[in-house]
């Protein structure tokens, strides 16, 4: 039946969680713009913020990979703060300029930042006003990617949640798959489900504004990313029903995720097997190869993207690793519960961060592999620990069967590298 069995010693869903607050070594939600603007090809993301916001986007993007990116920052200046200029008038002017230069833009997101939130620029009102001015050609929405409200991947959550109220209504029974995935991975997922006879399948975010994503009482939805808590709530508000499942990482996660949908849509066991058998076998083989370097090794997760719990489940159950600590910026039972059920008891589960205290725990545990942000990776390597930069897990195709081996490979590469480098003198 291939239903994943909970671990013999129990899972982690009821494990007491260490909740910490203090300095957090994480990005703010603006960072999501880096991948969202590639996903939605007719969208522009206009951050209303400071020079810091612009600098963050540029630094997180690895400095200017895209010629003329579909994002920018309207930088607040002294006169905006002193009330000498009406922020709304200024914003209208900048948007006008932007849209006249880029007629290909069909959706504009006004993205709130820490400074715009603190001085309370009402971007919802601005979006409404600008929508009226630029309709029907351009739809203007707003969300906050500010650090005071969002942690890293929560920016995507806020963006998708802002789109739910304007989705068209439908009474059709449809599957809505939610979460920005690389196109190639999305195509694989759609083809697996289509081969099982599941449909119609709608996507959020759609690649273009004219795509037919709609929602209603008869919609069921599946999340591909574990950080979509607000989007989940917005969709339920529209009457849609969530199909809870482990997230589609690795063979086991992908199978469980697909099965939850298959069961809902009455797919027969034979059909399910027929569609999944070959890619599952490929995934297992690829994981086994990459996991050789991981078996028996320990892993420590610093909180970053909320992918930590599902990934810890994958590494422990499919790659033979032991988790020491699994830190996540936030834990939502409705989303992370199914993965926590499967994660073997043992690791410290932590939520939030006080980075110096957590570093002390990591140093004491000396894990074989530490998954952490870019600010911590080189310093920990210099202390002799092996690290995996967490941001690569968000920027690389890692979902579903065909990427399962690559996912394991992301974790094994730092360990393999350590073992191949020989720089000591030969005796």
């Amino acid at each position: 039946m291939n239903v994943p069995l909970p671990p013999a010693n129990g899972g982690c869903r009821t494990t007491p969680v260490l909740k910490e607050r203090g300095q957090r070594e994480v990005f703010c939600g603006l960072t999501g713009i880096i991948w969202l603007h590639r996903k939605m090809q007719d969208a522009f993301f206009l951050v209303v913020g400071s020079r810091t916001c612009a600098h963050l986007l540029q630094s997180a993007a690895g400095v200017m990979i895209f010629a003329e990116p579909r994002f920018g920052t309207a930088i607040l200046e002294e006169q905006d703060l002193a009330g000498m200029a009406d922020a709304h008038v200024e914003l209208d002017r900048e948007v006008e300029k932007l849209l006249s230069r880029r007629p290909d833009i069909r959706q504009l997101f006004l993205v709130g930042s820490c400074p715009s939130e603190v001085i309370k620029i009402d971007l919802a009102r601005a979006a409404e006003r600008l929508s009226q001015v630029h309709a029907p050609h351009v739809r203007v929405l707003n969300y906050s990617g500010s650090g005071i409200e969002t942690t890293f991947t929560e920016g995507e959550d806020a963006c998708l949640a802002s789109m739910v109220p304007v989705l068209k209504d439908t009474q059709e029974r449809e599957l809505l798959v939610v979460g920005a995935l690389p196109d190639v991975v999305e195509d694989q997922m759609v083809s697996l489900l289509t081969d099982m006879g599941v449909g119609p399948i709608r996507l959020l975010p759609a690649r273009r504004i004219d795509d037919t994503t709609a929602v209603g009482q008869n919609t069921v939805f599946a999340l591909t990313q574990p950080f979509l808590g607000d989007t989940h709530a917005e969709l339920e508000r529209r009457g849609a029903r969530h199909l809870a499942a482990p997230f589609p990482f690795g063979d086991e996660g992908t199978t469980a995720w697909l099965r939850a949908i298959a069961v809902e849509f009455g797919v027969s066991e034979e059909t399910f097997e027929a569609v999944t058998a070959a890619p599952r076998a490929r995934a297992r083989k690829a994981i086994a190869q990459a996991a050789e370097a991981l078996r028996g090794k320990s892993v420590f997760f610093f909180p970053d993207s909320q992918l930590e719990i599902p990934l810890a489940r994958f590494l422990t159950r499919e790659c033979g690793m032991t988790a020491v600590e699994v830190g996540s910026p936030y834990i939502h039972d409705a989303l992370h519960g199914p993965d926590l059920d499967l994660l073997p008891a043992g690791p410290q589960i932590s939520e939030g961060q006080d980075v110096d205290k957590q570093l002390e725990r990591a140093r004491a545990a000396r894990p074989d592999l530490t998954v952490c942000g870019l600010g911590l990776a080189n310093p920990l390597e210099a202390e002799g620990l092996s690290t995996k930069w967490a941001i690569e897990l968000v920027f690389t195709p890692v979902h579903f069967y065909e990427q399962a081996g690559d996912l394991a490979g992301l974790f094994s590469r730092p360990l393999r590298r350590k073992s191949v480098l020989q720089m000591e003198a030969v005796e």
Binding site: Q23, R24, E25, V26, F27, C28, G29, L30, T31, L46, V48, S50, R51, T52, A54, H55, L56, Q58, S59, A60, V63, M64, A67, E68, P69, G72, T73, A74, I75, L76, E77, E78, D80, L81, A85, A87, E90, L91, R93, E94, L98, C114, P115, E117, V118, I119, S146, G147, I148, E149, T151, D356, G373, L374, G375, L376, N378, P379, E381, A382
Partner: protein
């Protein structure tokens, strides 16, 4: 409000971080929201530093705003002092914290800490990164430097090198060697690798070498005024500037020792016949004011290039760069708007750009070679090898840097002679850049030449001939021919027009 796509400088608190991270025994307590920690990766990833920057962020969130962010600041401050045991701390606010007006300086003062607390006021909504570094370093020097006796031997301080500086690590080493050749010891280098107690010792030196005016000038002026230390005005980048610098130091100190020039190869490399092809290459120079000024002189006087435009992104240097532009007979472009720089380059269509990582991208898009000469920095600007910009070795390094993106001597002629050769075609690019080579596609549809002006059309013979001109001068040939045609009131460009234009512009 101003729409910005890419920025040359970060906010001023990042400048202060560059000073704090350069130093040892100093800690920066920064009142800042969650997310501002992104700046750590500039140091750990771009510069490959093996320590976290010595910065504690208070990390306030929305729910703290209604409550007590001031207490959060004091707790972070106390924790940082307890945990890291610094000799001194600097305290300040990032852009968001500036808005909530908690007054980190006042708060830290009330805490009765036993170490010096240096408050920073960095206006995030009007100033930028270089200002932040310059101001932070000045405040540190102002608070910590102590009046004292001069050293017995002639010594100097080297002021200005910070973390994330353009080749700061190697420039300090090269400059130290150069001064040592002259018989001058370095008292303190700051901020790079200096401790707060080193800062206290600054006034023991006889004079200051201002290596990076962008980040050290305010401190140098303070030391001149309050401790009677003169500072050098010439930044020794390039052969001529290095020799001027040596003269300037000799005048300040009366020291007569001359540094060893036997390792200086640049002048001969530039005179040797292979370099003939460099003559009159049209270059556009953009970056921070200091590097732009130095490279304008190198380009014209030491490489034999023709400087067609200069500019800088830091407004603090606008005045000297404008004056320099006048001297070179070109317009100065003072802007931090990347799109304006791109437009200027497109308009001038130089044969080469000396710029920053931003201009490297512009060059990539326009098909113009670019050498990087200035911050903002990229991981590539931190080479493992020794690679200074200042002094005689710096001049050697710069010569290599400037010719690397170009097609070399005889190769340029071969490309002209065999321009339709199947291996030697234009798209193959310089032969020492394997990665750029593209296989020639024979039956690719010939792209139409689009004239810049609608009133001029290219006849097919002329268009074919234009395509035979090597790619690295084709843009210029096209532009010159069109300008020539327009000036002559011609609406069609024939083969003859093309060659008449060539003769007209021949130098």
């Amino acid at each position: 409000m101003k729409l910005t796509v890419w920025t040359y400088e970060g906010p001023p608190h990042v400048g202060a971080m560059r000073v704090a991270t350069a130093m040892k025994g100093l800690h920066y307590v920064l009142h800042a929201p969650q997310g501002d920690t992104y700046a750590d990766l500039l140091f750990t990833m771009i510069e490959r530093r093996n320590h976290r920057p010595p910065v504690s962020y208070t990390t306030f969130q929305a729910r703290d705003l209604g409550a007590d962010t001031a207490t959060l600041f004091k707790t972070s401050c106390q924790d940082a002092v307890d945990r890291f045991d610094p000799e001194a701390i600097i305290v300040g606010a990032s852009c968001t914290a500036e808005l909530i007006q908690d007054d980190p300086a006042g708060l830290a003062e009330t805490m009765g800490l036993s170490i010096p607390v240096i408050p920073l006021e960095l206006p995030s909504y009007s100033r930028k990164e270089n200002f932040g570094a310059d101001e932070a370093f000045y405040q540190i020097v102002k608070s910590l430097s102590k009046p004292q006796e001069r050293t017995k031997r002639v010594t100097c301080n080297i002021l200005g090198p910070t973390a994330l500086g353009f080749r700061a690590r190697d420039d300090v080493e090269e400059l130290t060697g150069l001064l040592s050749d002259m018989g001058i010891d370095v008292n303190v280098v700051a901020p790079l690798n200096a401790t707060p107690s080193d800062i206290a010792r600054l006034p023991a030196a006889h004079f200051n070498v201002l290596l990076s005016p962008e980040t050290g000038e305010a401190a140098a002026r303070f030391l001149e005024k309050n401790h009677n230390q003169p500072f050098t005005k010439v930044v020794p980048i390039g052969v001529g500037a290095t020799r001027d610098f040596i003269d300037e130091v000799a005048v300040i100190t009366g020291v007569t020792g001359r540094p060893d020039e036997t390792r200086l190869r640049m002048p001969w490399w530039s005179r040797s016949v292979d370099s003939t092809y460099l003559t009159g290459k049209r270059v556009f120079i953009f970056g921070d004011g200091t590097h732009v000024a130095a490279h304008a002189r190198i380009a014209r006087d030491e490489m034999g290039f023709e400087v067609v435009g200069i500019g800088c992104y830091n407004r603090e240097m606008a005045r000297p760069i404008r004056a320099l532009a006048k001297e070179y007979g070109v317009d100065a472009l003072i802007t931090d708007d990347y799109l304006e720089v791109e437009a200027a380059i497109e308009r001038l269509s130089p044969e080469m750009i000396l710029g920053t990582q931003m201009e490297r991208h512009i060059g990539k898009r326009l098909g113009i070679p670019c050498a990087v000469i200035s911050a903002p920095v990229h991981v590539q600007d931190f080479p493992a090898r020794y690679s200074p910009q200042v002094g005689f070795e710096g001049a050697n390094v710069i010569f290599d840097t400037l010719i690397h993106p170009l097609v070399m001597g005889l190769e340029e002629h071969l490309l002209t002679m065999f321009r339709d050769d199947f291996e030697f075609h234009d798209d193959a690019g310089p032969s020492h850049h394997g990665g750029k080579a593209k296989a020639k596609v024979d039956d690719a549809p010939a792209e139409r030449v689009q004239p810049q002006d609608d009133n001029v059309i290219w006849l097919s013979d002329a268009e074919k001939e234009l395509k035979k001109i090597p790619f690295f001068v084709r843009g210029k040939a096209r532009r010159n021919t069109e300008t020539f045609a327009m000036e002559k009131g011609l609406h069609e460009i024939s083969l003859d027009t093309l060659y008449e234009a060539k003769a007209h512009y021949a130098r």
